[in-house]
Symmetry: D2
Subunit: 354 residues, 4 copies
């Protein structure tokens, strides 16, 4: 209830602060009999891991997931799947400099206002570290979804955009570069820009696009739980996200109905796909695609003026190891959240008709 | 569960098709002792009503809400508030021309795929008529929220944009024109454009912006139920919505952290508000503002090729009375959904700390 | 959330006070394609109706259900099923004598304490009148359950007991007498006793037993949502219920494991059925049976001392038309709640395994 | 959803099999700022622990709880509280004898039917070992409830009953004997009986009574979530429970209304308390009391005929270390579940009125 659970039938509940002994979660509602490839789950976690390339934070966290229940002889048993990820790195840090200080555009101030005090070590619960648990659950959800292909990638960094339509993307290129942009030239531009930004002690935002193929028809529940509404919530719940659009998105608002309508082919597919694979909140079998906007990371390596708990102005030093651009590491998180949404609706849809 | 309920503590469940005898809903969880101004609720409904101006659909529906329970001697009793809105207009229509035909970019095809058959009369449950129930519940939520001011307005129609920052808006101008755009010149341009579009038998999209003032600090629940994630879901669940962004939104992705961070004043307010009043998913007391993208209405007054249930290509005539642009009537719906989200989080926040 | 919804996938939300214009509800999650026999639903309502025989309250309420949505051309559409039952009789009553008075063992005092004031007309929301909505939804659930047979009946009135084992009951006798006891001799004894109690201006309690046949194996969810735990909650939520036991129940606590264990036959059935058809919270295919304890109705036709809102002792007259024994009219309510639980678990079970 | 979560606002989700590496849970929704006494939590766990006396199972499990999150500097932070309990004893056991065999009146058969296969090691998820997690969460809930006193105790073993009214109990005697019966003579009789039963290689049932003092008025939500309905569900979800009754319970069904009604004193208390502290599903401030029926443990130390997965009759040896009577160790579990229900309703009640 207090916001740490996601999903109705395929449900993830997570816990853990960035600097406690461990983070973890419980996946309840995964059907019994699913053969689980544990290595694939770890592989997804590794895509999110700090220290994976020269353009992400150089912190070291092994991020190894341990499953504690719900899997027996290689298969899910239908009972809840508990897991933890140890926080190996948590003791070495010194957070006394932010104990009484509110970092600008962080959650420090709002947590204090809401709860009366906060776990100030590295952001506590508001740290993006919690997304590791989403990746674990999402990786399991992907295995449940079998034939559905979920591919996210970096679509922009700052004002450098990958100018390709969803159907033009070669997904096999995503993992060929540290930016996770499926276009060699754009990827190189973005990489160069991120390195420059890091030198400046600054950060930059960007967008992730996600394309989902082979979606069965009928996923999504009217009225409030439309497929794109849950996808939107899922994405907006990821740290640093400021916007979500699917199909024609914000650009579509400028169009006329006669241009925007997706005319049918005889087999029920559509000639265009401005609907983004969803009509009336329900998947129509065409590709689902959407964009997710990430703001620049708030922690910068520059001094900033800020206030402390007493309301005094204080100078705050930029230090530590942080991502100059969150987008490359956000790619697997976007995929994971998409997988959780689809897995949940796939189960819900089993009850749609007799 | 099947998607017709919204909210956790302040909860709305709705029912009803556009052409059944009535639509309605149940509001559960409204605290006892709230003095209810029934007239204000009807006023909100009237803002959404068809036939209210020359630029919206000319259908006639009185849209009078009747409360059946939960209010006694002018106050909420703490028990569920049931209400209905009769469908006065539903018998006169002839829908035989769409009985077996899938209208392009409507929910006809997906409902049929999901449920095996559908109520084809005027869109059935997928009709935007269901949003009238949201407006009723939202109007009640507004009364619960007292000092919080929620103002939505038309920010663009097609490519005509109101070029004002959230803090520059004079909300008193919103209801002075049928477009609900708080700027005389822009409103006139938009109105002219909508009339032209209607003459073409076409439709056009647009965006609604919403600005919320006097929000208490501390609303929103980490991790998955961030305030902006629920706002996003709420907006994306409205018919025809394709995108949501808050604060700096998609533009913010192009910025550097050093530009984007909202520096504090000594009183905890911030010098800028690119965060859009929400940090770490929790309100910080600054104005919340967000944009909602609406696609052009799919029903156009032009002939279109489409398919029937048998998969044959058929010609479909454009007829009936529909909105050339949904945005002016969407304004009260956006406000209603925002009110539902805030009311729910206000109740949830009562349990945040001892 | 505030307690007026029941079920997770097959979900009922109800509203309405005994003396408002109407009561009603929304059933969300009923799969599409179910052929609905509306007459059968009304028949169930009639079994609960006041005035049906000489031993129940002589109030007159036609209790006609009107469906407002979710059923089209005789079938459920998968969208929410809204319904109302008009309160035809509500204006004639005078409740001024209880406006400021707390009736002993009623909900008057607790509602006032919880909500700050109450709708004092005939019990308001705490009136057993709300159970009519349960019967409507339960009657629909029965139609979804097809082959499952749910039979409840009066097992005791005061200290007159039907001394039969669940498997000895002839269900065809239940509706042959106004007590709904499937044994002619016991029924007559009970009827005579109820009439005598009424003459005394008093009331008496009793128990309802329910036997469910042809239950599929596998219904019920461990750990917290065991089948019998939800059945127990369902029954305990009915007005006037004080206890629930299934299978061997309270008597079983006196037994030894060697006597109590149900040994298997080779086909997976068991030689005895002290488990009551449920093992580990999951149905095993044997008959489910349980007892529900109803206290005597609190409204008696005798004068009682009580207090008013100011805490003064006042004399309260016994008047009005009330049931001397609630049990005969509770039988269809017990069946309805059992049907809701089973329908919900039947849907939930669709996701148990791949 | 799949049944491993309990509570709406104070919510526990658990995971873990008896013979996996660990069991554990997540408590979400505990308000921030609660000072946590970790030792008291461990003390409650020790009351449930195997091997604590001569009349319970002699298995050795240290049952030490480790908290992983949500508590910082001795206080709850408002974020989820994750915890695990290592299964130290799980590797030594040999379960090959039950791998393909269905133990009578266990959950073996039903799990196999529901999930297609099962974790056969020691009952897997159906083992009462999961109740350790309930005790952890319940012990925390007790600390949130402060002044509310929850005392459960053994009220019967087999046909040996403690013949005392709830208000006659001296709670300080509960922990003075291994049976947890607050009467020296009855406790000795029960202990002797349990030892004799164990010698026979048999087991026996019993009842636990729980008395709750200092309950605030107003807890519980009409209509479906009545306080006693949730208490009933909570108790019925505990392994081996067959029945629940509160206040006058099943005996109350034999009474007349004129005897059963609890007449008021001028201060709103009642002269009698057959209502058991709950009227209309809402606490009235009087003591809450209820009985919980436990069947005899199904695992006996005698040979039994049973079937295997192939449906063949096989002889099954009674071996291992099991409780001859589950009731003494069930006492802290009953208290824990009661605390969870009350904590949840205490939070829910914050939204009852303005």
């Amino acid at each position: 209830m207090a916001g740490n659970s996601f999903g109705k039938l395929f449900k993830l509940s997570t816990f853990g602060e960035s600097h406690g002994p461990a983070i973890g979660g419980v996946i309840d509602g995964c059907p019994a009999g699913l053969s689980v490839d544990l290595e694939k789950i770890q592989t997804e976690l590794n895509r999110r891991k700090p220290g994976q390339s020269a353009i992400v934070t150089q912190r070291k966290e092994p991020d190894t997931v341990e499953f504690l229940s719900g899997i027996f002889e290689g298969k899910t048993t239908g009972t809840p799947i508990g897991f933890i990820i140890q926080n190996s790195n948590q003791k070495s840090k010194d957070y006394s400099h932010i104990k009484n200080t509110y970092r600008p555009s962080h959650a420090d101030y709002t947590y204090d206002e809401k709860y009366g005090f906060r776990d100030y070590r590295g952001g506590g619960r508001s740290s993006a570290r919690e997304t590791a648990c989403r990746v674990v659950a999402g990786a399991l959800a992907k295995q449940l979804l079998e034939n559905i292909e979920i591919n996210a990638f970096t679509a922009s960094v700052g004002d450098i955009f990958l100018n390709k339509k969803p159907h033009e993307i070669d997904f096999s290129l995503i993992e060929t570069n540290p930016v996770r942009c499926p276009d060699k030239a754009s990827a190189e531009q973005m990489e160069t820009y991120i390195k420059q930004i890091r030198k400046e002690g600054d950060t930059v935002g960007g967008t992730v696009q996600c394309v989902i193929k082979n979606v069965p028809k009928g996923l999504g529940e009217p009225v409030f739980d439309k497929l794109h509404a849950e996808l939107g919530k899922a994405m907006l719940s990821i740290n640093a996200v400021k916007g979500f659009e699917y199909g024609s998105g914000f650009e579509g608002t400028k169009m006329k109905g006669s241009q925007h309508n997706d005319l049918f082919n005889e087999d029920g597919t559509t000639k265009t796909n401005l609907s983004g694979g969803i009509q009336g909140g329900i998947s129509n079998g065409m590709d689902i695609y959407f964009n997710v906007a990430f703001k620049p990371v708030a922690t910068i390596m520059q001094d900033q003026e800020t206030i402390n708990r007493e309301g005094d102005m204080v100078k705050m030093q930029g230090k530590g190891r942080h991502d100059p651009c969150v987008v490359p590491r956000a790619v697997p998180i976007v995929e994971a959240m998409a997988a959780l949404v689809l897995a949940d609706f796939m189960l819900q849809n089993k009850c749609a008709k007799l």
